[in-house]
């Protein structure tokens, strides 16, 4: 069996060589990712390997390609294939008021702090198609704080940002969103926030008024303002620890003193270099407060 002998080879070779020796399957993935970076500048080199690999294999099936090596050759020749791959490698799972308990905790723990500011800035990093940004706008509106804020909603992907800016979503999702809105502590009737239009709904324009949508890549772009709150949920799980540390440095440097950081439900700063730089504001909901 190739696995066994390969394993021994690896440990013996690595003693004499600084290069880490990869298994054939991993070499293919490594070369594909390097190719994508050097040919087009798309940088997936520090993405978490296991989930990246899964998405590459799912993409292969969709493209009817037999191997990662084949995809690599095709992608280097054909920019359209590389663009499709780029979309295939990005994940856009989102919903309005996704994880309602997060919004409840935000209302209880963060809103009182925000009331002390005459004006505040929120950065929603990795906003995907925008549902969670609009959820925040609704929450702030109901707390009477929306006129005092500016929300910067960014994503690396131009296509999802376009959807986010439009604020148009399938009507069939509204039943689920309404449920989540209520669980999140919503105080009004959810249908007040949108207008139905055939099979879609359009969010009310005032919800967009204080949101600035823009392209920003967490892997390659730097800080662009100072924020009172940074929300980045279920984005960093796709990065390895090196890249997570890099992005946490960016967040730390972009937060004001006592600024708030909100992560996804199963994300944590525990395993990063910034573990001691924050206090836990709401432990279970991953709301942190910058120490100084």
């Amino acid at each position: 069996m190739a696995g066994t002998s390969g394993f021994k080879e690896q440990s013996e070779l690595s003693r004499t060589s600084p290069v880490s020796i990869l298994k054939p399957n991993d070499v293919d993935i490594h070369l594909l990712v390097e190719g994508l970076y050097h040919r087009y500048g798309y940088d997936f080199r520090n993405y978490a390997k296991a989930s990246l690999k899964r998405r590459i294999h799912t993409f292969l099936k969709g493209e009817n390609l037999a191997s990662v090596a084949e995809l690599q050759a095709q992608m280097l020749r054909d920019r359209a294939c590389a663009e499709r791959l780029l979309l295939g490698l990005t994940v856009n799972t989102t919903a309005m008021f996704r994880d309602p308990s997060f919004y409840q905790a935000f209302r209880q723990q963060v809103v009182p702090l925000l009331r002390t500011y005459p004006f505040f800035r929120i950065w929603h990093a990795g906003c995907s198609t925008g549902q969670e940004v609009y959820s925040m706008a609704i929450l702030l509106q109901e707390e009477g704080l929306y006129p005092r804020c500016r929300i910067y909603a960014t994503d690396a992907n131009e296509k999802v940002l376009h959807t986010a800016k439009q604020g148009i979503y399938p009507a069939k999702q509204m039943q689920e969103y309404t449920q989540l809105y209520l669980q999140a502590g919503g105080r009004r009737t959810f249908s007040e926030y949108y207008t139905a239009h055939y099979s879609n709904v359009i969010l009310r324009p005032f919800l967009r008024e204080r949101i600035v949508f823009g392209e920003h890549n967490l892997v390659t772009d730097g800080s662009f303002n100072e924020f009172n709150v940074i929300i980045c949920r279920n984005v960093l799980i796709y990065f390895n620890q090196t890249l997570q540390n890099q992005v946490h440095e960016l967040f730390y440097n972009s937060l004001c003193k006592f600024g708030i950081l909100g992560l996804g439900k199963q994300e944590t700063i525990r395993f990063t270099k910034y573990e001691t730089a924050y206090d836990e504001l709401a432990k279970a909901e991953k709301l942190y407060r910058r120490r100084s």
Binding site: A50, S51, I237, Y238, F271
Partner: protein, 190 residues
């Protein structure tokens, strides 16, 4: 080579089966256990807290990039896939696989990728086919496959499908799975 990781997948009837399995593992069990039990996406940590009552091994609901420690039990959190990297876990919110997130296939395939012949895959009671593909990959990469005897399973669908699709190493009644794991994972010469 010693086993480092035991991956377990189950759906319908899983909680009761896991209770039986986990309570038979001793404090000094030398491998880590990673478990996907199909669950509702809004379920909270009550399930891992419930199972903690029946085992001396520490039970965790996995957080992203958590280290894999021997003798610890790791649960896939609700609404996330649990993936194995060498030495630690990653999570994802990718599309459900076979309608499931967490998916057993995702856990087993990534574990096989990272640990090759040092991983054991266990399929317990379950009502759909999520886990069959994963067990097949795990076996193909040199891992060891154990399936609960369908006659002892609350739902025989998953174990039956796994036995049909994979050349499994052991088909065992529920009560014999923990003793087999203890035997397989025992340090050489012990």
């Amino acid at each position: 080579m010693a086993y480092e990781l035991v991956t377990i997948g189950t759906s319908l009837g899983g909680l009761s089966a896991l209770k039986t399995l986990l309570r038979s593992l001793p404090r000094e069990f030398p491998a880590a256990l990673a478990i996907v039990q199909h669950r509702h996406r809004e379920s909270d940590q009550a399930m891992s807290a419930f199972l903690q009552q029946f085992t001396v091994l520490p039970v965790h609901e996995v957080e992203d990039k958590e280290c894999i420690q021997p003798g610890h039990v790791y649960f896939a959190p609700a609404d996330y896939h649990l993936l194995v990297e060498y030495g630690y876990f990653s999570l994802s919110v990718d599309e459900p696989v076979s309608y499931a997130r967490p998916s057993i296939d995702v856990l087993l395939e990534s574990a096989a990728d990272a640990y090759h012949e040092q991983v054991i895959g266990v399929i317990l009671t379950g009502a759909n086919h999520d886990g069959v593909q994963g067990l097949s990959t795990l076996k193909a990469r040199g891992g060891t496959a154990i399936v609960q005897d369908p006659d002892t399973a609350e739902s025989a669908v998953l174990p039956t499908a796994a036995i049909a699709a994979v050349n499994v190493d052991w088909v065992l009644p529920l009560g014999q799975i923990a003793p087999r794991l203890i035997h397989l994972c025992a340090p050489a010469g012990a």
